[in-house]
């Protein structure tokens, strides 16, 4: 197992320990759906509830990293710094009107070592990046779309 996989496994185990339900979204969800892409952080989508806010504090303690930091005054997103990699936490929905419930209904479970991740579907990763429209999102779209087509062709070609 690589250090990247170990990091992911550790975060998933910590989420489980503190009882926090999260969907892996963003580029790491693309990776877990088989896309050959790379990123600098891990994006998690949670429901914004007082209980979950409390659990995020416990999560940072479990991972022995710093307390959550607001990404900006204009955003509800927070980030956990001080670990091997930043963990960005988004709440309730992704760009494109993709709600937590809708994403979860189309998600899959991916086993990573002893832990399992709830992972957004590749189509939802693509839709969220299209809606976000930032240069770094748009740059990944061609390879993500191609990966989705190849996945489809693999199923059709069986």
């Amino acid at each position: 197992m690589s250090s990247d996989e170990s990091f992911l496994q550790d975060v998933l185990a910590a989420l489980h320990r503190v009882g926090l339900e999260a969907i892996v979204v963003g580029t790491v969800a693309g990776v877990l759906n088989g896309a050959p892409v790379m990123t600098q952080d891990l994006d998690l989508l949670l429901r914004d509830t007082p209980k979950n806010r409390e659990k995020i504090g416990k999560l940072s303690a479990a991972l022995q990293i710093a307390a959550p930091v607001e990404v900006s005054e204009l955003s509800r997103s927070i980030t956990l710094l001080g670990g091997a990699l930043p963990i960005d936490i988004l709440f309730d929905a992704l760009p494109g009107g993709l709600t937590f419930e809708a994403l979860r209904s189309r998600s899959s479970r991916v086993q990573i070592g002893d832990s399992a991740a709830t992972v957004a579907a590749l189509g939802d990763v693509i839709a969220s990046k299209e809606a976000a429209g930032r240069p770094k999102d748009l740059a990944q779209l061609p390879i993500l779309r191609e990966t989705q087509r190849v996945r489809g062709a693999l199923k059709d070609g069986r």
């Binding site: 690589s2 580029t27 790379m38 190849v150 059709d156 069986r158």
Partner: protein, 62 residues
């Protein structure tokens, strides 16, 4: 399974998949197709790397 045998198993699986899939996606660059198939067919937990880390010097490592 040792790393060499695992690499050989992946090579065979990628080539077999390419043979089936390439006619269905003729507009995808052959190099991209190999890259995607390798990524799709190599399970997570087998030593994959997907995080870039920025060094203080300004460069990136993974």
């Amino acid at each position: 399974m040792d790393r060499r045998a695992e690499a050989e198993r992946l090579r065979v699986a990628v080539l077999e998949a390419r043979q089936r899939v390439a006619p269905l996606v003729p507009d995808i660059d052959p190099g991209d197709l190999l890259l995607i198939l390798q990524s799709l067919l190599r399970p997570i937990g087998t030593g994959r790397r997907f995080f870039l880390r920025r060094r203080d010097s300004g460069g990136y490592v993974f």
